[in-house]
Protein backbone atom coordinates (compact mmCIF):
# COMPACT_ATOMS: atom_id res chain seq x y z
CA UNK A 1 0.00 0.00 0.00
CA UNK A 2 1.46 3.33 -0.97
CA UNK A 3 2.26 5.75 1.81
CA UNK A 4 -0.25 8.31 0.58
CA UNK A 5 -3.06 5.78 0.61
CA UNK A 6 -1.92 4.68 4.06
CA UNK A 7 -2.06 8.23 5.34
CA UNK A 8 -5.41 8.86 3.70
CA UNK A 9 -6.89 5.79 5.36
CA UNK A 10 -5.36 6.87 8.67
CA UNK A 11 -7.06 10.24 8.33
CA UNK A 12 -10.46 8.78 7.45
CA UNK A 13 -10.12 6.24 10.21
CA UNK A 14 -9.40 8.86 12.81
CA UNK A 15 -12.01 11.31 11.57
CA UNK A 16 -15.04 9.22 10.72
CA UNK A 17 -14.73 5.55 11.54
CA UNK A 18 -13.32 5.94 15.02
CA UNK A 19 -14.78 9.37 15.55
CA UNK A 20 -13.47 10.52 18.87
CA UNK A 21 -16.74 12.03 20.04
CA UNK A 22 -19.37 9.62 18.88
CA UNK A 23 -17.59 6.30 18.90
CA UNK A 24 -15.10 6.82 21.71
CA UNK A 25 -17.01 9.14 24.04
CA UNK A 26 -14.06 11.42 24.56
CA UNK A 27 -14.57 15.19 25.00
CA UNK A 28 -18.26 14.88 25.83
CA UNK A 29 -18.27 17.77 28.32
CA UNK A 30 -17.38 20.28 25.65
CA UNK A 31 -19.75 18.49 23.25
CA UNK A 32 -22.73 19.05 25.52
CA UNK A 33 -21.62 22.40 26.88
CA UNK A 34 -20.56 24.27 23.74
CA UNK A 35 -22.86 22.87 21.10
CA UNK A 36 -25.94 24.94 21.88
CA UNK A 37 -24.58 27.75 19.74
CA UNK A 38 -23.26 27.34 16.20
CA UNK A 39 -20.75 30.16 16.23
CA UNK A 40 -19.08 29.18 19.46
CA UNK A 41 -18.85 25.61 18.17
CA UNK A 42 -16.99 26.83 15.09
CA UNK A 43 -14.58 28.75 17.31
CA UNK A 44 -14.04 25.76 19.55
CA UNK A 45 -13.37 23.38 16.65
CA UNK A 46 -10.78 25.69 15.14
CA UNK A 47 -9.10 26.15 18.49
CA UNK A 48 -9.03 22.39 19.09
CA UNK A 49 -7.46 21.66 15.71
CA UNK A 50 -4.82 24.27 16.37
CA UNK A 51 -3.93 23.11 19.86
CA UNK A 52 -4.14 19.39 19.12
CA UNK A 53 -1.61 19.61 16.29
CA UNK A 54 0.87 21.45 18.43
CA UNK A 55 0.30 19.20 21.41
CA UNK A 56 0.87 15.96 19.49
CA UNK A 57 4.06 17.29 18.00
CA UNK A 58 5.38 18.22 21.41
CA UNK A 59 4.36 14.97 23.11
CA UNK A 60 5.79 12.83 20.32
CA UNK A 61 9.12 14.62 20.60
CA UNK A 62 9.20 14.49 24.40
CA UNK A 63 8.26 10.83 24.51
CA UNK A 64 10.70 9.63 21.89
CA UNK A 65 13.65 11.76 22.90
CA UNK A 66 13.28 12.05 26.64
CA UNK A 67 10.82 9.82 28.46
CA UNK A 68 11.32 6.58 26.55
CA UNK A 69 15.15 6.58 26.50
CA UNK A 70 15.18 7.28 30.23
CA UNK A 71 12.70 4.52 30.90
CA UNK A 72 10.44 6.65 33.06
CA UNK A 73 7.64 6.98 30.53
CA UNK A 74 5.46 4.25 31.97
CA UNK A 75 4.39 6.22 35.01
CA UNK A 76 5.44 9.75 34.15
CA UNK A 77 3.52 10.24 30.94
CA UNK A 78 0.36 11.60 32.53
CA UNK A 79 1.84 14.61 34.37
CA UNK A 80 4.41 15.22 31.64
CA UNK A 81 1.90 15.37 28.79
CA UNK A 82 -0.59 17.43 30.69
CA UNK A 83 2.11 19.93 31.67
CA UNK A 84 3.10 20.25 28.04
CA UNK A 85 -0.49 20.80 26.93
CA UNK A 86 -1.18 23.39 29.63
CA UNK A 87 2.00 25.30 28.81
CA UNK A 88 1.29 25.16 25.07
CA UNK A 89 -2.23 26.48 25.48
CA UNK A 90 -0.97 29.34 27.60
CA UNK A 91 1.73 30.09 25.01
CA UNK A 92 -0.74 30.03 22.13
CA UNK A 93 -3.06 32.34 24.02
CA UNK A 94 -0.29 34.87 24.60
CA UNK A 95 0.89 34.64 20.99
CA UNK A 96 -2.60 35.18 19.62
CA UNK A 97 -3.23 38.07 21.94
CA UNK A 98 -0.24 39.90 20.54
CA UNK A 99 -0.27 39.02 16.86
CA UNK A 100 -3.90 38.36 16.06
CA UNK A 101 -6.26 40.18 18.39
CA UNK A 102 -9.20 39.40 16.12
CA UNK A 103 -8.61 35.66 16.34
CA UNK A 104 -7.93 35.96 20.06
CA UNK A 105 -11.24 37.73 20.57
CA UNK A 106 -13.01 35.16 18.40
CA UNK A 107 -11.68 32.18 20.34
CA UNK A 108 -12.12 34.02 23.61
CA UNK A 109 -12.55 31.74 26.58
CA UNK A 110 -12.29 28.53 24.59
CA UNK A 111 -8.54 28.57 24.52
CA UNK A 112 -8.03 28.01 28.25
CA UNK A 113 -10.92 25.55 28.16
CA UNK A 114 -9.03 23.32 25.75
CA UNK A 115 -6.48 22.46 28.41
CA UNK A 116 -9.08 20.27 30.04
CA UNK A 117 -10.44 18.91 26.80
CA UNK A 118 -10.05 15.13 26.98
CA UNK A 119 -9.64 14.90 23.22
CA UNK A 120 -6.38 16.81 23.20
CA UNK A 121 -4.82 14.64 25.91
CA UNK A 122 -6.15 11.47 24.29
CA UNK A 123 -4.85 12.25 20.81
CA UNK A 124 -1.52 13.51 22.09
CA UNK A 125 -0.99 10.42 24.20
CA UNK A 126 -2.07 8.03 21.46
CA UNK A 127 0.44 9.50 19.07
CA UNK A 128 3.30 9.29 21.53
CA UNK A 129 2.69 6.30 23.74
CA UNK A 130 1.91 3.22 21.72
CA UNK A 131 -1.22 1.23 22.40
CA UNK A 132 -3.03 3.90 24.33
CA UNK A 133 -6.41 3.42 22.71
CA UNK A 134 -6.34 -0.25 21.91
CA UNK A 135 -4.47 -2.25 24.47
CA UNK A 136 -3.94 -5.14 22.07
CA UNK A 137 -2.46 -3.30 19.13
CA UNK A 138 0.73 -1.36 19.65
CA UNK A 139 1.13 0.88 16.67
CA UNK A 140 4.19 3.04 16.67
CA UNK A 141 3.35 6.22 14.84
CA UNK A 142 6.07 7.90 12.86
CA UNK A 143 6.13 11.66 13.11
CA UNK A 144 4.26 12.21 9.85
CA UNK A 145 1.68 9.55 10.66
CA UNK A 146 1.18 11.14 14.05
CA UNK A 147 0.45 14.49 12.45
CA UNK A 148 -2.04 13.05 9.98
CA UNK A 149 -3.73 11.04 12.72
CA UNK A 150 -4.11 14.11 14.92
CA UNK A 151 -5.47 16.15 12.04
CA UNK A 152 -7.99 13.40 11.45
CA UNK A 153 -9.06 13.30 15.08
CA UNK A 154 -9.46 17.07 15.18
CA UNK A 155 -11.40 17.10 11.92
CA UNK A 156 -13.68 14.36 13.18
CA UNK A 157 -14.25 16.23 16.43
CA UNK A 158 -15.10 19.41 14.53
CA UNK A 159 -17.43 17.60 12.16
CA UNK A 160 -19.37 15.87 14.91
CA UNK A 161 -19.53 19.02 17.03
CA UNK A 162 -20.79 21.20 14.18
CA UNK A 163 -23.46 18.75 13.03
CA UNK A 164 -24.65 18.40 16.61
CA UNK A 165 -24.69 22.19 17.10
CA UNK A 166 -26.77 22.64 13.95
CA UNK A 167 -29.28 20.01 15.11
CA UNK A 168 -29.45 21.48 18.61
CA UNK A 169 -30.28 24.93 17.31
CA UNK A 170 -33.31 23.49 15.56
CA UNK A 171 -34.25 21.35 18.55
CA UNK A 172 -34.43 24.58 20.53
CA UNK A 173 -37.60 25.65 18.76
CA UNK A 174 -39.13 22.25 18.17
CA UNK A 175 -42.11 21.00 20.21
CA UNK A 176 -40.43 18.61 22.66
CA UNK A 177 -42.19 17.06 25.70
CA UNK A 178 -41.46 18.97 28.90
CA UNK A 179 -39.34 16.39 30.73
CA UNK A 180 -37.25 15.66 27.66
CA UNK A 181 -36.48 19.32 26.94
CA UNK A 182 -32.89 20.44 26.97
CA UNK A 183 -30.07 18.04 27.75
CA UNK A 184 -32.15 14.89 27.68
CA UNK A 185 -33.25 15.48 24.10
CA UNK A 186 -29.71 16.42 23.11
CA UNK A 187 -28.40 13.13 24.44
CA UNK A 188 -31.00 11.11 22.60
CA UNK A 189 -30.12 12.99 19.41
CA UNK A 190 -26.44 12.33 20.03
CA UNK A 191 -27.35 8.67 20.38
CA UNK A 192 -28.99 8.70 16.97
CA UNK A 193 -25.96 10.45 15.48
CA UNK A 194 -23.74 7.83 17.07
CA UNK A 195 -25.96 5.12 15.63
CA UNK A 196 -25.22 6.47 12.18
CA UNK A 197 -21.51 6.19 12.84
CA UNK A 198 -21.87 2.60 14.03
CA UNK A 199 -22.63 1.81 10.42
CA UNK A 200 -19.04 2.66 9.58
CA UNK A 201 -17.55 0.43 12.25
CA UNK A 202 -14.93 -2.11 11.36
CA UNK A 203 -14.19 -0.67 7.95
CA UNK A 204 -10.71 0.36 8.96
CA UNK A 205 -9.46 -0.53 12.36
CA UNK A 206 -6.98 1.63 14.17
Amino acid sequence: MSTLANLGLLFIGAALINNILLTRFIALCSFVGISNDWHTSVGMSLAVIFVMMMASTATWVVWNFMLEPLGVGEFLYIPAFILIIAALVQFVEMYLRKYSPVLYRAMGIYLPLITTNCAVLAAATEVAKPGFFKMAIEYNYTFGEGLVYTLGVAAGYGFALLSFAAIRERLDIAPVPEALKGNAMSFITAGLLSLAYVGLAGWFGL
Binding site: F25, T116, L121, A179, L180, A184, F187, I188, G191, L195
Partner: protein
Amino acid sequence: MQWRLPVRSTLTCCRREASDVREWMKVFNAGLSIENPLTILMIGLCATLAVSTQVQGSLFMGVAVIFVLVMSNVLISAFRRFIPHEVRIPVFIVIIASFVTIVDLFLKAFFPPIYAILGIWIPLIVVNCIILGRAEAFAYNNTVWLSIADGLGMGIGYSLVILVLAFLREFLGTGEVVFFEHTVLAMPAGYQPPGILMLFPGAFILFGFMIAGTKWINQRLERKKG
Protein backbone atom coordinates in the same frame (compact mmCIF):
# COMPACT_ATOMS: atom_id res chain seq x y z
CA MET B 1 -31.43 32.55 21.99
CA GLN B 2 -31.51 32.65 25.78
CA TRP B 3 -28.20 33.98 27.07
CA ARG B 4 -28.88 33.08 30.65
CA LEU B 5 -26.92 30.25 32.26
CA PRO B 6 -28.39 28.28 35.16
CA VAL B 7 -27.80 30.13 38.39
CA ARG B 8 -25.10 28.48 40.48
CA SER B 9 -26.29 27.36 43.84
CA THR B 10 -24.74 29.38 46.61
CA LEU B 11 -24.24 26.15 48.52
CA THR B 12 -20.99 25.30 46.80
CA CYS B 13 -19.50 28.58 45.70
CA CYS B 14 -19.41 30.81 48.74
CA ARG B 15 -16.84 30.81 51.48
CA ARG B 16 -17.71 28.91 54.58
CA GLU B 17 -17.30 30.21 58.12
CA ALA B 18 -18.03 27.47 60.61
CA SER B 19 -17.26 23.81 60.12
CA ASP B 20 -19.74 21.96 62.22
CA VAL B 21 -21.39 18.70 61.28
CA ARG B 22 -24.55 20.23 59.81
CA GLU B 23 -22.53 22.31 57.41
CA TRP B 24 -20.63 19.20 56.46
CA MET B 25 -23.80 17.25 55.84
CA LYS B 26 -25.26 20.05 53.73
CA VAL B 27 -22.25 20.14 51.44
CA PHE B 28 -22.17 16.36 51.33
CA ASN B 29 -25.83 16.09 50.36
CA ALA B 30 -25.48 18.72 47.65
CA GLY B 31 -23.14 16.50 45.71
CA LEU B 32 -25.55 13.59 45.96
CA SER B 33 -28.80 15.20 44.91
CA ILE B 34 -29.33 18.79 43.86
CA GLU B 35 -25.87 19.32 42.44
CA ASN B 36 -25.20 15.84 41.18
CA PRO B 37 -22.23 16.21 38.84
CA LEU B 38 -23.62 13.97 36.14
CA THR B 39 -27.31 14.67 35.85
CA ILE B 40 -27.46 18.28 37.02
CA LEU B 41 -24.07 19.89 36.47
CA MET B 42 -23.36 17.76 33.38
CA ILE B 43 -19.64 17.39 33.97
CA GLY B 44 -17.49 14.27 33.86
CA LEU B 45 -19.59 12.65 31.17
CA CYS B 46 -16.96 11.11 28.94
CA ALA B 47 -15.81 8.46 31.32
CA THR B 48 -19.31 7.67 32.56
CA LEU B 49 -20.81 6.64 29.27
CA ALA B 50 -17.76 4.75 28.11
CA VAL B 51 -17.15 2.75 31.27
CA SER B 52 -20.76 1.91 32.07
CA THR B 53 -20.83 -1.21 29.91
CA GLN B 54 -19.99 -3.28 32.94
CA VAL B 55 -20.96 -2.95 36.58
CA GLN B 56 -17.58 -4.13 37.89
CA GLY B 57 -15.74 -1.54 35.79
CA SER B 58 -18.08 1.20 36.92
CA LEU B 59 -17.63 0.25 40.55
CA PHE B 60 -13.87 0.62 40.31
CA MET B 61 -14.24 3.81 38.29
CA GLY B 62 -16.47 5.27 40.98
CA VAL B 63 -14.02 4.30 43.73
CA ALA B 64 -11.13 5.74 41.71
CA VAL B 65 -12.96 9.02 41.22
CA ILE B 66 -13.84 9.24 44.92
CA PHE B 67 -10.23 8.59 45.88
CA VAL B 68 -8.72 11.13 43.47
CA LEU B 69 -11.42 13.72 44.22
CA VAL B 70 -11.08 13.53 48.00
CA MET B 71 -7.29 13.38 48.03
CA SER B 72 -6.82 16.23 45.57
CA ASN B 73 -9.47 18.33 47.32
CA VAL B 74 -7.69 17.82 50.65
CA LEU B 75 -4.26 18.66 49.29
CA ILE B 76 -5.38 21.70 47.33
CA SER B 77 -7.43 22.95 50.24
CA ALA B 78 -4.54 22.46 52.64
CA PHE B 79 -2.16 24.43 50.44
CA ARG B 80 -4.61 26.96 49.12
CA ARG B 81 -2.82 29.89 50.74
CA PHE B 82 0.46 28.98 49.08
CA ILE B 83 -0.78 28.47 45.52
CA PRO B 84 -0.56 31.71 43.51
CA HIS B 85 -3.66 32.62 41.56
CA GLU B 86 -1.95 32.83 38.16
CA VAL B 87 -0.49 29.34 38.12
CA ARG B 88 -3.24 27.58 40.00
CA ILE B 89 -4.52 25.51 37.07
CA PRO B 90 -1.20 23.82 36.28
CA VAL B 91 -0.65 23.19 40.00
CA PHE B 92 -4.10 21.59 40.33
CA ILE B 93 -3.47 19.45 37.28
CA VAL B 94 -0.13 18.19 38.52
CA ILE B 95 -1.57 17.30 41.92
CA ILE B 96 -4.48 15.47 40.31
CA ALA B 97 -2.17 13.76 37.83
CA SER B 98 -0.05 12.37 40.65
CA PHE B 99 -3.04 10.75 42.34
CA VAL B 100 -4.34 9.41 39.05
CA THR B 101 -0.96 7.85 38.39
CA ILE B 102 -1.19 6.11 41.77
CA VAL B 103 -4.60 4.72 40.81
CA ASP B 104 -3.33 3.74 37.36
CA LEU B 105 -0.40 1.75 38.68
CA PHE B 106 -2.38 0.24 41.55
CA LEU B 107 -5.06 -1.12 39.21
CA LYS B 108 -2.46 -2.33 36.74
CA ALA B 109 -0.71 -4.29 39.47
CA PHE B 110 -3.57 -5.68 41.55
CA PHE B 111 -6.58 -5.83 39.23
CA PRO B 112 -5.33 -6.44 35.67
CA PRO B 113 -8.75 -7.49 34.27
CA ILE B 114 -10.29 -4.26 35.58
CA TYR B 115 -7.35 -2.29 34.18
CA ALA B 116 -8.01 -3.88 30.79
CA ILE B 117 -11.68 -2.90 30.95
CA LEU B 118 -11.11 0.67 32.07
CA GLY B 119 -8.19 1.21 29.70
CA ILE B 120 -7.62 4.80 28.70
CA TRP B 121 -10.27 6.15 31.06
CA ILE B 122 -7.96 6.04 34.04
CA PRO B 123 -5.44 8.55 32.70
CA LEU B 124 -8.35 10.58 31.42
CA ILE B 125 -9.56 11.05 35.00
CA VAL B 126 -6.94 13.82 35.11
CA VAL B 127 -8.97 15.92 32.74
CA ASN B 128 -12.23 14.75 34.20
CA CYS B 129 -14.15 17.97 34.53
CA ILE B 130 -15.53 17.01 37.94
CA ILE B 131 -12.19 16.89 39.69
CA LEU B 132 -10.70 20.01 38.16
CA GLY B 133 -14.02 21.81 38.47
CA ARG B 134 -14.43 21.04 42.18
CA ALA B 135 -10.79 21.95 42.84
CA GLU B 136 -11.29 25.32 41.22
CA ALA B 137 -14.75 26.05 42.54
CA PHE B 138 -14.64 24.60 46.03
CA ALA B 139 -11.32 23.32 47.34
CA TYR B 140 -9.44 26.50 46.48
CA ASN B 141 -11.82 28.59 48.57
CA ASN B 142 -12.80 26.39 51.48
CA THR B 143 -11.41 24.54 54.46
CA VAL B 144 -10.06 21.01 54.37
CA TRP B 145 -12.96 19.75 56.49
CA LEU B 146 -15.59 20.95 54.00
CA SER B 147 -13.53 19.99 50.98
CA ILE B 148 -13.66 16.40 52.19
CA ALA B 149 -17.44 16.69 52.36
CA ASP B 150 -17.62 18.07 48.86
CA GLY B 151 -15.26 15.46 47.48
CA LEU B 152 -17.14 12.60 49.11
CA GLY B 153 -20.54 13.97 48.14
CA MET B 154 -19.66 14.57 44.52
CA GLY B 155 -17.78 11.30 44.26
CA ILE B 156 -20.59 9.22 45.74
CA GLY B 157 -23.17 11.09 43.66
CA TYR B 158 -21.14 10.29 40.58
CA SER B 159 -20.74 6.64 41.57
CA LEU B 160 -24.44 6.18 42.20
CA VAL B 161 -25.41 7.47 38.78
CA ILE B 162 -22.75 5.48 36.96
CA LEU B 163 -23.71 2.32 38.82
CA VAL B 164 -27.38 2.70 37.95
CA LEU B 165 -26.50 3.33 34.31
CA ALA B 166 -24.08 0.39 34.23
CA PHE B 167 -26.58 -1.90 35.90
CA LEU B 168 -29.28 -1.03 33.37
CA ARG B 169 -26.92 -1.39 30.45
CA GLU B 170 -25.35 -4.65 31.50
CA PHE B 171 -28.43 -6.33 32.91
CA LEU B 172 -30.79 -5.38 30.11
CA GLY B 173 -28.13 -5.37 27.43
CA THR B 174 -26.58 -8.77 28.06
CA GLY B 175 -29.09 -10.43 30.33
CA GLU B 176 -26.74 -10.95 33.24
CA VAL B 177 -24.46 -9.08 35.63
CA VAL B 178 -20.97 -10.53 35.86
CA PHE B 179 -18.61 -9.77 38.70
CA PHE B 180 -15.09 -11.12 38.36
CA GLU B 181 -16.26 -14.08 36.31
CA HIS B 182 -19.13 -14.93 38.68
CA THR B 183 -22.62 -14.30 37.41
CA VAL B 184 -24.29 -12.37 40.18
CA LEU B 185 -27.66 -11.78 38.58
CA ALA B 186 -29.22 -13.26 35.48
CA MET B 187 -32.35 -12.77 33.46
CA PRO B 188 -34.64 -15.76 32.92
CA ALA B 189 -33.65 -17.97 30.02
CA GLY B 190 -35.10 -17.05 26.68
CA TYR B 191 -34.44 -13.35 27.22
CA GLN B 192 -33.31 -11.71 24.00
CA PRO B 193 -31.13 -8.77 25.01
CA PRO B 194 -31.25 -5.65 22.83
CA GLY B 195 -27.60 -5.35 21.84
CA ILE B 196 -27.94 -1.63 21.17
CA LEU B 197 -27.74 -0.95 24.90
CA MET B 198 -24.18 -2.20 25.00
CA LEU B 199 -23.13 -0.03 22.09
CA PHE B 200 -22.36 3.67 22.23
CA PRO B 201 -25.70 4.90 20.87
CA GLY B 202 -27.53 2.94 23.51
CA ALA B 203 -25.54 4.68 26.23
CA PHE B 204 -26.42 8.11 24.88
CA ILE B 205 -30.09 7.35 24.56
CA LEU B 206 -30.37 5.62 27.92
CA PHE B 207 -28.55 8.46 29.64
CA GLY B 208 -30.84 10.95 27.92
CA PHE B 209 -33.85 9.17 29.35
CA MET B 210 -32.16 9.03 32.77
CA ILE B 211 -31.74 12.81 32.73
CA ALA B 212 -35.35 13.21 31.66
CA GLY B 213 -36.41 10.87 34.47
CA THR B 214 -34.44 12.78 37.10
CA LYS B 215 -35.86 16.06 35.83
CA TRP B 216 -39.40 14.68 35.94
CA ILE B 217 -38.95 13.37 39.48
CA ASN B 218 -37.47 16.69 40.63
CA GLN B 219 -40.36 18.57 39.07
CA ARG B 220 -42.92 16.35 40.79
CA LEU B 221 -41.16 16.78 44.15
CA GLU B 222 -41.04 20.56 43.71
CA ARG B 223 -44.68 20.66 42.78
CA LYS B 224 -45.54 18.67 45.90
CA LYS B 225 -43.47 21.01 48.07
CA GLY B 226 -44.75 24.30 46.68
